[in-house]
């Protein structure tokens, strides 16, 4: 094996990472859709199926956005689930303690304040992450591993591992209600994805994030305050985890210190499947959303086919390897 072809192959891979992934994923989605339509028939296109897909996607979607932001800068955020559970428990505690007996204006105010408090907790965790990573120079995996354990510790310590449940109507609506047939949670996902996409593609801040992901040192030497950018980025990542917390606690009508832990590696899987470079610098929100739809389509179809959800996990893994290998084969073809 000589080195020259390997290098040009790599260049081709980088070139393909942008538009190539979206093309591959779109093709894959169409192929899956056709295959499942043949296997399952009309039931696959029923309103019920589509709606249940749309209900299940937002949690993982918002958490994956949170993971994506950290990945784009060349980092990683392992604390997203723990952050979401901690801020979910904060909201749940406030709701269950102050809502009973309140009426009218206070009733609305408490719900708004509770959610605001949840976001405040998430922002605090983000500040801690950002400070330790950007200003103390700790590697993101270690720092967020620490905050993950810390957040989970606070959540378990304060809740004694108990579930807090029973929320007022409007909160439950966020996770289970529909607007003109569209699940409200899906709207929340859109309300998260759109600003993130705009921020990444159309603002100087987004450009700086991609630059840091490609080469942090070069970005710093070109006059960008990389530390401030990273701090802000981890706060944003945490705030997205806070948004996921609201959707999660609304959908389950409860909060707990250990909800959704199996999502952690799945968010990385979704992001990488969506074309986000795990070493930073490349990746678009559109790719991530496509990946999420693919994962959800497989999961829902397997459910309709009465196949184990664990087989779904295995197929997700297989798809990830297959999609990641496409640039390799595409690069080889012309030779």
């Amino acid at each position: 094996m000589s080195n020259a072809p390997a290098l040009s192959l790599r260049r081709r891979m980088v070139g393909l990472a942008g538009s190539g992934t979206v093309a591959t994923l779109t093709l894959l989605l169409v192929a899956l859709w056709v295959a499942f339509a043949i296997m399952i028939g009309d039931r696959f296109f029923s309103v019920n199926t589509l709606q249940s897909m749309a209900f299940q996607m937002p949690e993982l979607g918002i958490l994956s956005l949170a993971m994506m932001l950290a990945l784009l800068s060349g980092g990683l955020n392992l604390s997203i689930i723990a952050t979401a559970n901690l801020s979910g428990l904060t909201i749940a505690f406030l709701l269950t303690h102050y809502i009973p007996g309140s009426q009218g204006f206070a009733w609305v105010g408490i719900q708004v304040l509770a959610i605001a408090a949840g976001f405040a907790v998430a922002a605090l965790v983000g500040l801690l992450n950002g400070f330790v990573i950007a200003y103390l120079g700790v590697s993101p995996i270690l720092a967020t591993l620490g905050t993950m354990t810390l957040c989970k510790g606070v959540a378990i310590g304060l809740s004694r591992g108990n579930v807090i449940s029973g929320f007022p109507e409007p909160i439950v609506f966020i996770g289970n209600g529909t607007v003109f047939g569209v699940p409200f949670a899906l709207i929340v996902l859109a309300l998260c994805a759109l600003p993130v996409a705009l921020m990444l593609n159309a603002t100087p801040f987004g450009a700086k994030v991609y630059m840091i992901g490609s080469n942090e040192k070069a970005t710093r030497y070109s006059g960008v305050d990389t530390r401030a950018v990273l701090l802000k980025l981890y706060v944003l990542s945490s705030l997205l985890a806070g948004a996921a917390a609201v959707v999660m606690l609304a959908r389950f009508n409860s909060a707990n210190a250990a909800y959704g832990e199996s999502y952690l590696l799945v968010t990385i899987l979704a992001a990488v499947l969506g074309g986000i470079d795990p070493f930073g610098g490349f990746g678009k929100v559109g790719g991530l959303l496509l990946a999420l739809i693919i994962l959800q389509v497989i999961s829902s179809a397997f459910n309709l086919l009465n196949l184990s959800q664990f087989l779904t996990l295995a197929i997700w893994g297989g798809i990830l390897i297959a999609v990641a290998a496409v640039p390799h084969f595409a690069g080889k073809a012309p030779r």
Binding site: M1, N3, A6, L9, R10, M13, L78, V132, L136, G137, V138, S139, I141, L142, A143, L145, G146, T147, M148, T149, L150, C151, K152, G153, V154, I156, G157, R160, G161, E261, S262, L265, V266, I268, L269, V272, P278, F279, S308, F310, L311, T312, L313, A314, I315, W316, G317, G318, L320, I321, A324, A325, H328
Partner: protein, 334 residues
């Protein structure tokens, strides 16, 4: 001779390992002072036995990290190796040599699969191992239905117990299977990394893969070896874990991968490759073990245990990063 000893001690004093050792010694001293039970043989043997599983996996991961890769599929590999090996042992009979041979074979094969995906398809190791974690685990639960195995062969359930001696009236200690496997894993990994040509090649590859390839190192072969080694360690660890738990639970190991990552990176191994020592991994593992054990012995509610573990991880990694930064700026000024 003494001069070089002083020089090497000076180097050690500035190393990451030295700071870890100081933290651990401080922690041990205060815990020993606070609770007489902490510094007893009983506690030492219990700690070694219960942390052997994480320790053996950490050694495998250390080699992968030094080589410049990462593997987080090892918990799934361990689950598969454990389930298949002990099912076979139950069905056809086996002995110590054959169970370990089967587990090592399965672990090695799954590790090699990772290496092939990484090297032949040129997919980054983090992507491959996230994917294979789901593939191995998903298929295992799909085919087994997630059923536990409670009846293990008698000789396996009994385990081994060497060099038995009595410490107090009712308690006797000896080298059990877990401690023996942990000690062997440390010895072999240390020999591999520090006393063999291949070990030096692994460091070189992790430091700069392109340069290593131009020097004529067989990169593909080295990668196969590294990921197989991780798989073999997962196979061994899975058996001693089953022996300790006295059952095979296919769903409990997956999810513990970050505990292992924590031990190795606390020990100073870098995710960028080329950096890391067996001593560091030992100290990282010790810090986590002493911390978790100490919190229990201090009578802190077990609900708060993860909080303190997280706090110590954050403080220790922050302090290390800070001291390195200080040193860099000081040497830059000079």
């Amino acid at each position: 001779m003494p001069e070089s000893a002083i020089a090497s001690f000076g180097r050690f004093r500035r190393s990451h390992e030295f700071w870890l050792l100081m933290v651990i010694l401080g922690l041990c001293a205060s815990l020993g002072f606070a609770n007489a039970q902490f510094l007893t043989m009983q506690n030492l043997f219990d700690l070694l036995t219960s942390y052997a599983f994480v320790g053996i996996l950490a050694l495998g991961l250390l080699v992968v990290l030094i080589a410049g890769g990462i593997d987080i599929s090892f918990t799934a590999t361990a689950s598969v190796a454990q389930y298949v090996t002990l099912s076979l042992a139950n069905a056809y009979g086996a002995n110590w040599i054959s169970v370990f041979a089967i587990a090592i074979g399965i672990g090695g094969a799954l590790g090699a699969l990772n290496a092939i995906f990484i090297q032949k398809l040129r997919i980054p190791s983090i992507i491959v191992s996230v994917a294979t974690l789901n593939i191995f685990y998903g298929l295992l639960i799909f085919f087994t239905g997630g059923k536990y195995i409670y009846s293990l062969p008698d000789w396996f359930a009994t385990g081994i117990f060497w060099f038995e001696f009595e410490w107090a009236k009712d308690s006797s200690y000896g080298v059990n299977l877990q401690i023996l496997a942990l000690a062997l894993a440390f010895l072999v990994t240390w020999l591999l990394l520090n006393r063999t040509n291949i070990g030096r090649q692994i460091y070189a590859m992790g430091g700069n893969a392109d340069a290593a390839q131009r020097l004529g190192f067989h990169i593909f072969g080295l990668n196969i070896l590294v990921y197989c080694y991780m798989g073999v360690m997962a196979g061994i660890a899975s058996l001693i874990q089953a022996q300790l738990a006295q059952s095979v639970a296919p769903t409990v190991l997956v999810g513990k991968e970050l505990d292992v990552v924590a031990a190795v990176v606390l020990g100073g191994a870098s995710l960028m490759g080329g950096v890391g020592t067996v001593l560091g991994t030992f100290l990282g593992l010790t810090l986590l073990a002493v911390l978790q054990n100490g919190i229990i012995l201090l009578g802190v509610s077990s609900y708060w245990s993860p909080f303190f573990v997280g706090l110590v991880i954050l403080i220790s990694v922050s302090a290390t990063a800070w001291s390195q930064r200080e040193r860099r700026t000081r040497s830059a000024r000079r």
